[in-house]
Amino acid sequence: MKKITKILAIIMVLAMTACLFASCGKSASGTATEGVLVMATNASFPPYEYTEGDDFAGIDVEIAGLIAEELGLELKIEDVEFGSIIGGVQSGKFDMGMAGMTVTEERLKTVNFSDTYAKGVQSIIVKETSSFNSFDDFFEGEGDDKQVKNIKVGVQQDTTGDIYCSDTVENGGLGTDHVIQYKTGNDAVQALVAGKVDAVIIDNEPAKSYVAANKGLRILDTAYAEEDYAICISKDNPELLEEINSALSKLKSSGKVDEIISKYIAA
């Protein structure tokens, strides 16, 4: 009787291990849906991601397409609010987030980031007639008396531009009273055109597109901050992080990433 129980136990353990291996084999990359790589983005960030008719286009979209190809998966893009991307990735709703996203200390607490694939610059857009020529022009007084002028700066909510600007003056920001957070970068630029804000701080590439599309705007020569863009992946999925990193390094060494970037950004 005892012997039979033992044998049964062994058979069950074996069966379970087999199941485990089987399920591992099925979705090698451990994506939420088998065979599909779900990418979350906020498609109002040209030239990194934007919509062209019913399709998505941009640097991130094309690089994601190549990564999915490398991993043998089908790419599916979900267009969500920028602030919902990291939460959604961590909870497993999306496999990865790719939205011109900068690596920050705070974000690293919640998700893993891949290697960098592009460099971003936070630029300042003002009206052509504006007297501002650098970020320092937003302040008046010296030393301890240094304070922000009576101005408002528009940003896209939850982007690094927002997070930096909303910080205190001591930490290099402007303080929340001087920042208006809009849902999209486009809204912020429209507010600048209408004269509701004095400047917009946003990533350089979209900034160029906005300035090209709206008359009477210019980008300041001195940038506000420089940063690295990366893909965010859930902390619960280190396998996918590794696979994406190796796919990225392959694409980078073959020159394909540079090819895509230079296609969208005229040097």
Partner: protein
């Protein structure tokens, strides 16, 4: 279980204590209340005016049409304007109206709170107008005739006899409209206003956790609505006393 609790405490600290983020919620809550309060006032003001025009037209349409004359033409002109207002405002989403107000109509204004109050007030006015008109029309015709036969003129009858009865009829629906308005102001974030919902969103965008900020925001809205509903229930009970 213990781990779950300590995790919860950590989440609480991260979302509300660190960087004094609870003050964002407080500021946002104040903003929500300010917008709701003034928008309600504007809404009731617009509602009263439009309901007066529309119900006067409805009530006197037949008798005035026979007589014709300039008075009837003016009244029907204003009635048409009110009808147009109701159609446009009720036929478009409040977010779209807010964005139109912010980016087009009041494009030059830098006071976004005022713009939000105006657009929520104008929006609410359309609904309040119909609530009031429904109330006026549902007071029995005999009440009006009794007032007139006692020597009151049209306006006196309205003020002393119809409106007090109407108020009791519309109170529950009016309360409903206020609750809807309070929650509708949650879209104010679209034009960069830091209201309660936006405050929760901003916390979410910085801590990347959904649970704490969203639940906190939901509880605050819920608490306001519960308190308000209790107050209105008490008022209704008071008004009912005069029925006996």
């Amino acid at each position: 279980m213990k781990e779950w609790f300590s995790d919860l405490a950590g989440q609480f600290r991260l979302n509300f204590i660190d960087g004094d983020r609870w003050t964002w919620l407080l500021e946002g809550f104040k903003m929500t209340l300010i917008i709701t309060f003034f928008a309600t006032l504007i809404g009731i003001l617009i509602g009263v005016v439009i309901a007066t025009v529309r119900s006067t037209y409805d009530k006197n349409y037949e008798s005035m049409k026979k007589k014709g004359g300039i008075g009837f033409r003016i009244l029907s002109f204003f009635n048409k304007i009110c009808g147009l207002y109701l159609t446009v405002i009720r036929g478009t989403p409040v977010v779209v109206q807010l964005l139109i107000m912010y980016f087009i109509i009041f494009a030059s204004s830098t006071n976004s709170t005022m713009v939000a109050i105006a657009s929520f007030g104008i929006n609410s006015g359309a609904y309040v107008a119909e609530i009031f008109r429904g109330g006026i029309m549902s007071v029995d015709k005999g009440q009006f005739e009794a007032g007139r036969s006692l020597g009151f003129n049209y306006i006196q009858t309205m003020i002393h006899i119809i409106i007090p009865q109407m108020f009791k009829i519309v109170l529950p629906t009016l309360c409903n409209e206020f609750i809807v308005l309070l929650k509708e102001t949650s879209v104010a974030g679209y034009v960069g206003i830091r209201d309660l919902t936006k405050a929760g969103d901003l916390i979410r965008g910085r801590t990347f956790s959904a649970f704490m900020p969203l639940i906190a925001v939901a509880l605050i809205y819920l608490a306001v609505v519960i308190i308000f509903t209790k107050l209105v229930a008490r008022l209704e009970r008071r008004l009912r006393n005069s029925d006996h």
